[in-house]
Symmetry: C2
Subunit: 640 residues, 2 copies
């Protein structure tokens, strides 16, 4: 008998022992990080409201109880019973019964009403029907990404359970080494922005944190060095994805091409956004005639292997590693990733990308951990002069620009990333219009912005508290405001907008490196009354940066068969409004560290250009007396 089987047998005995004698345990299994307990008495189990919590705290495991398939009522019958328990106002849109596991997935417009106060409605479902309910939100704005992911996972359910069981046994395997050390190897994003990737390793375990690309370059993480994938991609125990931006996620699917078959720990919104963004990444590559490094099949593999965690859940991901995600304030689902290693041996936190202050979209990044000895800290704006304008001032400037442009009859064209900055700007515009600070006019959303917004509304739990509350009340959901229009009819619709009155256009790509913004430049660019407004960082080598620097002859990578000329003369004004960054500025980064309690002993400054990481590293050393480093790629640090 394997050590895991022995462990499960012991757990089964212990659980049986803990339960009242009239509640039977028919099986005990690991599924990913969870311990699943099958019982022939699900209703009685649910009646003892506190049982699961007690068991979980006694066994120090995440526990799920499921009915033994033998005792299940048939789905047709159960459906009626379930709907009888849930109040109509919950707006159930789908019920999906899984006879293999006794789970019923309930999709509802108002999940809170399915859950009930402190979970009372859920408990009632089990008590009365026996099935184990799981709730997901019906996207308030239809999202093809969310529904594709959900349908795909439904369809791949069998394989997914196999994956989870395998992962579960891996996590709970016997610990082999009695050596003790903790190391971080840098595979990318050191002294540069892009291709974020790290290996966190112990004698027992190897974890890959992020695996991104580098915008404006062909550079990829150093996956070929032995400390990256070791004897093969399957020598990794886990992949952890901090957030969906491509500089962190683009090459995650590639791991599956390399034969990886293990879990990706991330948040649910990051999973969906990763799907959206990596598929787009493949699309863009194809459109630009490049051979992408993997096929869309691998994106599906990645999604299939995701194990979503919520902020604050402490989760075993290896025999000697517990992972906890915390809100990073950067984009939807972005997570500061905290690793507790060994039994009190060491703690490492990877900031991922963070925003320290609250924004309209998100609460500020969490920096409150019981212990962190080493912090790996992004340094995008770590340079000594990288202070950003206050968002209030930035908003005022944006409002002024919009008003001026409106007054002279022009249009405002804003290149923006689909994920994050677009929604932030939408919230600014919605409020400004509602409170009369700018005139009412249509706000057109082009590229993936609409879809990204839909994903945001699907996961309001990940948004700032007051915004979340507004979304819970459909009539106050700012993203549903009338002025927002989804450009979904292509060139004709754009032409119509261009020919029409004052309007605001938010369009991808954010650095003017392709996408519908190119088309908008053609339509609106020659109009001297209109304005191009940059609200985000324009990287070296991008067209956005060149335009910002004063270029007005734009080479159009023209695949247009209308015979139009290949360069475009830009006549519209160009403005830059700072302060909408998703990244903490220098003050924010310092504050993030300064207000940690206790402060980390060591900080690795990464994800910034050479000057930024050096400046931040030296400032943190001098101001807070910590050991700080500005690693190079391909180095390995040992901490214990």
């Amino acid at each position: 008998m394997s050590s895991v089987d022995k462990q499960l047998e012991e757990l089964k005995a212990e659980i049986t022992n803990e339960l009242p004698s009239d509640i039977s345990v028919s099986d005990v299994k690991y599924e990913g990080p969870e311990l699943v307990v099958y019982t022939r008495d699900p209703k009685k189990f649910a009646q003892n409201g506190d049982l699961i919590r007690k068991l979980a705290s006694k066994l120090r495991k995440r526990i799920t109880v499921r009915p033994d398939p033998d005792v299940l009522s048939p789905p047709r019958e159960a459906e009626e019973q379930v709907l009888g328990v849930i109040p109509d106002e919950a707006g159930v849109t789908d019920l999906d019964f899984h006879e293999d596991t006794g789970e019923v997935v309930i999709e509802a417009a108002k999940p809170g009403m399915v859950i009930g106060r402190h979970g009372s409605t859920l408990r009632k479902i089990t008590q009365e029907v026996g099935w184990t309910p799981e709730v997901v939100r019906t996207p308030p704005i239809e999202s093809s990404t969310v529904s594709n992911v959900r349908n795909f996972l439904k369809q791949e359910r069998d394989e997914r359970r196999q994956i989870l069981e395998r992962v579960g046994r891996q996590i709970h395997r016997e610990q082999l080494s009695d050596d003790e050390w903790v190391r971080i190897s840098t595979l990318g994003c050191c002294r540069e922005v892009g291709r974020a990737s790290f290996i966190l390793s112990t004698p027992e375990t190897r974890i890959l944190v992020d695996c991104g690309d580098k915008p404006g370059s062909d550079d990829v993480p150093y996956l070929q060095v032995p400390e990256a994938l070791g004897s093969g991609a399957n020598s990794l125990d886990a992949v952890v994805l901090t957030h969906a931006h491509l500089d962190h996620s683009a090459l995650i699917p590639l791991l599956f091409k390399y034969g990886y078959d293990g879990p990706i720990y991330t948040t649910e919104p990051t999973r969906d956004l990763m799907g959206l963004l990596t598929l787009d990444y493949l699309d863009v590559a194809a459109k630009e005639g490049r051979t992408p490094p993997y096929e869309s099949e691998m994106v599906r593999e990645a999604i299939k292997h995701c194990i979503p965690l919520e902020y604050g859940d402490v989760t075993d991901i290896a025999p000697d590693v517990k992972l906890t995600f915390h809100n990073a304030g950067h984009i939807l689902g972005s997570a500061v990733s905290h690793f507790h290693i060994g039994d009190g041996l060491y703690n490492v936190a990877f900031s991922g990308d963070i925003h320290y202050e609250d924004t309209r979209l998100f609460n500020g990044a969490v920096n409150d951990f019981p212990r962190v000895e080493t912090l790996v800290l992004e340094s995008t704006y770590g340079g000594r002069n990288d202070y950003q304008t206050d968002q209030e001032d930035s908003e005022q400037k944006l409002i002024d620009v919009i008003n001026e442009t409106h007054d002279r009859g022009g249009k405002v064209l804003i290149p923006a990333f689909a994920v994050g900055r677009s929604q932030e700007i939408m919230l600014v515009l919605e409020e400004a219009m509602r409170s009369g600070k700018i005139p009412e006019m249509p706000v057109h959303l082009d590229g993936m912005i609409w879809e990204a917004t839909a994903i945001h509304t699907t996961y309001p739990e990940y948004l700032r508290d007051d915004l979340r509350d507004r979304i819970f009340h459909e009539d106050e959901n700012p993203f549903l405001a009338d002025e927002f229009n989804h450009i979904d009819a292509g060139e004709d619709e754009r032409q119509e907008v261009a020919d029409g009155g004052p309007a605001i256009v938010l369009s991808t790509s954010g650095m003017v490196t392709g996408g519908p913004i190119m088309s908008w430049l053609r339509h609106v660019g020659p109009d001297p009354k209109s304005r191009l407004v940059f609200v985000g960082y324009q990287a070296q080598g991008t067209l956005g940066r060149r335009i910002q620097n004063g270029w007005d002859e734009i080479p159009m990578n023209d695949r247009d068969n209308m015979g139009r000329s290949n360069t475009l003369t830009l006549k519209m004004d160009v403005e830059t409004v700072d302060g909408f960054s998703g990244h903490a500025d220098r003050a924010g980064l310092e504050n993030f560290v300064k207000t940690m309690n206790p402060r980390p002993e060591k900080v690795l400054c990464v994800h910034g250009d050479e000057r930024s990481v050096q400046d931040l590293s030296s400032a943190l050393y001098h101001n807070y007396n910590m050991r700080t480093f500005a690693p190079k790629n391909l180095e390995t640090f040992r901490f214990k």
Copy 2:
């Protein structure tokens, strides 16, 4: 056609083109780092004295010319001819004809007379006989190690040629990556003494430098981490062995158990000493009832894969790496290993263990390199107070101790390492006796000391210049002095010595951890007139250290069936005479760095306890303004 085959074809054309039209080239091959040119006209080739040198400098390769087997005279005939050319005084002891390669290996007491002035006699052999001569020295003192190694290599000649051809093709393979970086990973001997082991890596190449054990512990190098052996032991391009001490060599044979099948670059004496010491290492393990990590078969594999290099030879060992060994002054064959990476990209030197000043046995360590950006420096005596007594004073103290002991009719018992310190002490004693500073008395050599001495006399080129000259004249060879007696008849002989008059005994092990010294303690230990004299470092945890600290009740790990008691009461005096260390002291280490020109930019201080590496690192930083590090094991540093 592979890129190597194409390269060889081009080389053949180029060589044919360079040669006079009456000299044919029948084949061109790589054997290890050498380019072997086969010709049907070996005699003509040899008549054009300068041809090979010109070719080598033109092609920037090490070149060997061999006769096409078709044109060889039969060995019996050739033997007579060869002996006809060599003067009788050369003392030829063996001729070994290899018809597959046209080589004849000539073993002679005086190799210089076989070589002739500037190689004139060798050339004459080829001119007149056609065979390619190679010369080795007949050991002046019979050495079973040397003769075993030579016989073994003779016997494995076919497989060895296959290995060399394979290695040659590996070395000259096409370079694949155009990335540029240089890294060192630490697998052992950081903040500790023992288990020396490093990986030097580039995008193209991975080299293991040393692979030793840690005396007094079970710790071995971290070979199990992915950056060590990567996807397997064969992902290493080369192993480089700086010297034969077990803390650098003990686990080299283990690599072959792990499937390594590539070259070990080292000096010829290090190859032989490694054979001697690793076989003894297995012996000791067996005697102590431990399971050794590999079998003696693996020692033979290691010897078979050795490619011996001489000091100063610049050798291609990978497409992007050239290796040069320099005298390290530490033990016979010990080498500072200089790596030139890329075409002027970077230079790294590993000091191995060094002695900076001249000793009786060796010239001081070489520190004169065209360029070294990073130096990996041993720090055994790097502590702020680690200054050693001058050797002159130490010798005087040893002489005084011997005289006192002799005068009161006692014996002097010196525990010593077989390799290095024993020979140094032998030289001191020989001179002292010859010049009348101590009375004539027998010096008994027990354990492997005699054998190690024999190996020293086989390779006089590796000894200090004046010592080398003395060995070349048999009657002046100090190791052949009358007073030296090889204890080769076991306990009876020891008993006889113990019962006899004044004498000096040099015996292994050097730290009194086993070996014949235990028996000598039994014989001589109870005699208050005798003295135990330590001349070398006694590590923490060894019996030697305990005795040094005043223990006089010695637990004897008794497998004696005579019923003697299990503890021994030591009545002899205990003395320590410092200053015979094979390691540079703190001043020597600083001088080694200080007198480098240019000095390295970075120094990694290793091979010393925590305090020593920290002290040395900080002193080098403050005194010479270099970037210095005291790495931990399991770290990776990137330099370019």
